[in-house]
C-alpha cells in the first residue's frame, strides 16, 4: 500500500515538473517577401520581435504547458489571433493583447488571422504551436507550407480570387530550396534508428502532396480528410488548413529528397528547382 502511494506521489510530482508556464511574444509585422529570383511582394508575418521576417514564429511546448502570449500589432489595421477551438483574439491596430492557453494534447496547432479569411492568412499571418509528448526522445522538425501568387501581393488590398488562383512561389517556413536547407527546423537530419517527428501544416491556399524518398513514415496524427492515423506511407497529401505529424525511423543511411509531388511546386517564379524541396540527411 505504501509503495503504491509513493508511486502515485512520484507520478503527480513528475507531472508538476513538466507542466510549465511559458511566456512568449508575437509581433505582427508588415514587410516584403523576398523570393530567390529577387522578386518582392507585400507580406505580413507573425514574428518573435518587431523586426519583419518572412519566416513565421514557431512555438514549441510540452504537453500540459500553459502559454501566456503577448501579441503586438505593428500594422495600421486590426488583426486577429485565432486557433480553432482554442483562441479568438482581436489585436487592434498598433495595439496589443494577451492570450492565455493550456495545451494538454500532443499535436500541432495552426494559428492564423481569420479576418477577411483567407486573405490575411494568405498574406503571411499564420504560424504553428507544436506540443511535444512528455518523455519521448525524438528529433523534431516543423514545416509550414505556403504558396504565393505574385500578382496578388504586389499591392496591399488586392482581392484574392480563389477561382483563378495560380501560385508562382512555394515555401516551407517562408523559404524555398536551396536556401530553406539552412533552416535547422526544416532540413531533416538524423541517424539510423532515430525517432524523427515531422510536424507539418498547410497554411497555403493550394493542396500539396509531400513525398519522401528512401523511407515510409507512420502517420502519428492528422486532420486530413483522406489520411488516417497509423497509415504507413511515402506520400502525404495536405489540403489547405490541414496538419499532419509523421514518425520516421530510418533503417539505412543516405541523402534523400523530400518534396512536393505536384512537381510544379518545386519551382519558384518558373525557376526549377526551387520551391518545396529539401535534401534529408540520415547518417
Amino acid at each position: 500500500m505504501n509503495k503504491r502511494l509513493i508511486y502515485i506521489i512520484l507520478l503527480l510530482f513528475s507531472f508538476r515538473i513538466h507542466a510549465a508556464t511559458v511566456q512568449k511574444q508575437i509581433h505582427i509585422n508588415k514587410g516584403y517577401f523576398a523570393a530567390l529570383d529577387t522578386t518582392y511582394f507585400y507580406y505580413l508575418s507573425y514574428n518573435s520581435d518587431s523586426t519583419f521576417s518572412q519566416q513565421s514564429v514557431l512555438i514549441t511546448l510540452m504537453q500540459n504547458d500553459s502559454l501566456v502570449l503577448q501579441i503586438y500589432n505593428h500594422d495600421s489595421v486590426d488583426h486577429h489571433f485565432f486557433i480553432a477551438g482554442k483562441a479568438s483574439q482581436k489585436i487592434a491596430s498598433n495595439g496589443s493583447a494577451t492570450v492565455r492557453l493550456l495545451f494538454t494534447q500532443f499535436g500541432i496547432n495552426l494559428f492564423y488571422d481569420d479576418l477577411q479569411f483567407p486573405k490575411n492568412m494568405y498574406l503571411g499571418l499564420s504560424g504553428t504551436i507544436a506540443v511535444l509528448e512528455q518523455g519521448r526522445d525524438t528529433k523534431n522538425f516543423y514545416w509550414n507550407l505556403r504558396d504565393h501568387q505574385k500578382q496578388w501581393n504586389i499591392q496591399e488590398g488586392n482581392t484574392i480570387n480563389l477561382s483563378q488562383y495560380d501560385p508562382d512561389y512555394f515555401t516551407i517556413n517562408g523559404q524555398s530550396f536551396p536556401v530553406v536547407q539552412n533552416d535547422s527546423l526544416v532540413k531533416i537530419m538524423g541517424k539510423v534508428g532515430d525517432t524523427i517527428l515531422l510536424y507539418m501544416v498547410n497554411s497555403g491556399l493550394s493542396a500539396h502532396s509531400i513525398h519522401f524518398h528512401g523511407y515510409h513514415s507512420r502517420i502519428v496524427s492528422t486532420t486530413s480528410k483522406t489520411l488516417k492515423k497509423n497509415w504507413e506511407k511515402d506520400t502525404y497529401p495536405l489540403e489547405t488548413m490541414e496538419n499532419i505529424i509523421l514518425e520516421l525511423i530510418p533503417d539505412k543511411p543516405g541523402i534523400f529528397p523530400v518534396h512536393d509531388h505536384n512537381l510544379v511546386a518545386i519551382s519558384g517564379g518558373g525557376r526549377y528547382p526551387n520551391g518545396m524541396l529539401i535534401m534529408m540527411e540520415i547518417k
Partner: protein, 409 residues
Amino acid sequence: MKKFIIIYILLIGTFVVKAQVKKNFTLIMRTTGYIVLYDGDTAKTFGFATKLSQNPPIPGPLIEVNEGDSVFVLAKNISQGPPHTIHWHGLDVDQANDGTPATSFELKHMEEATYKFKATHAGTYIYHCHMGDVVHVQMGMYGLVVVKAANAAKTAWTGGPNYDSEYAWLNSEIDKKWHDSIPETDHDSTQKGHEIFMIPKYNPTYFLVNGKSKQQIKADSLTCIKSEQNKTIYLRVGNIGNMQNRITFPSKLNAKIIDSDGRPLPTVFSSDSIWVSPGERYGVLLQSSDILDDSISVEYINMNTHKSVATEWVPVTITKTNSIAEINVYNNLQIFPNPAKDNFYIHFNEQKNIKYNLTMYNTSGILCFEKQLVHNAFEIAGISFSKGLYFVVITGSDGGQYSGKLLVD
C-alpha cells in the same frame, strides 16, 4: 536427430532458393517518342522502351515482380539530349539506386547502368526519371512497378485478401504546350544534379488513364474492367500527374480501400470514392453481386483552385457468372485418375441411341478441348494439357448433362 538435420538442411535449401529469385528488365531511355491523343493530334514525348525500335509507350513498360525478388533493371540512355535517371518511387531503395541525380548516378548519352533493389513489400509503385523531373515526367518518362505477393499468389499482399482478377491504372495529364516547345533541360556536363532552368505555367488539356483518354480508354482491355458477379477485382491506382484525382465507383461495386503506397491499411474501409494525390497509390477491392454495365469516373482536380477540370470514364462490365455447377444426371459416370497427368479415362453406364459431347474449359472459361463420345468408356490421351484446373462438361443428345472438375497435375 538425423531427421532434424535433414529438415534443417531442407529448410536452409528453401531459403537459398527463395533468395536467388532474380528478375531482370531493360529500359531504354528515349527523347524522340510521340503519343497519339484522343482527338488525333500527336505530342512529342520522352519515355522508356524495351526495344531500340519501339516508340516509348505511355506509361512505360510494366515492371512486375514478386515480393522478395531481387530486381535488376538495365537502363540505357540512347537519347541525344539531357541525361536521365530512374527513381523507384515508394520502393525505399538505397541512395545509390534512388535515381536522384544529385545523390545517385545519372546516365548521359549512350551510357548504361543497372539499378538494383529488393522488392520487400507487395504493392503498387511508380518509376520515373528524376532528372529535371518536372519536365521529364510531363514528357512521359514514367511507368508502374507492381510487386505481387510472394510466389505471385492472387492475394493483394502475402497473406492478404484474395482476388480473382486485377487491373492497374496510372493517371497523368498532358499540357500540349510543354510538348510542343520542350522547356530547356540540357545540362552542363561539368555539373551534376540540380541545374536551373525555366518552366512555363502548367495548363493541361489532355487527361490520361494509362496514357489514354475518351474513346481510347473504351478500346483498352487493360484499363476497362470486365468481371463476373461475385468475383473480386483488385484495382491498383497511381497518380503521376500534377493534379489530384477523385475516383468514384458505382455503389454496386462495393469498393473497399485496402492499401496505400505499398502498405496494407491498418483498417480496411468502404468508400465509393477515393482521392489520389500526385505520387500516391491506392489498392481497391471491387465486387458486385449484380450484373453491371456502368463506368468509374476519374476526375482531375486543380490543386490550386480545387476545381474539377476534367473527367474521364472507365467502363466497368460485370456479367453473369460463368462458373459451372457440378451436376450429374448420368449414373456411375467416373473420371479417373483425378488428378490426372498425360491421360485420363471417362466411364459411365451406356445409354443406347444417345450421342455425347465432351468439352473442357480452363478456369478463365476458355474452351480447351472438345470431342464426340460414342462409347461408354473412353481414354483421353496424347493431349498436352497445361497444369491446372479444368471444368469437364458432357452433354447428351437426350438433354442430360454432367459437369465436374478435373485437375491436371
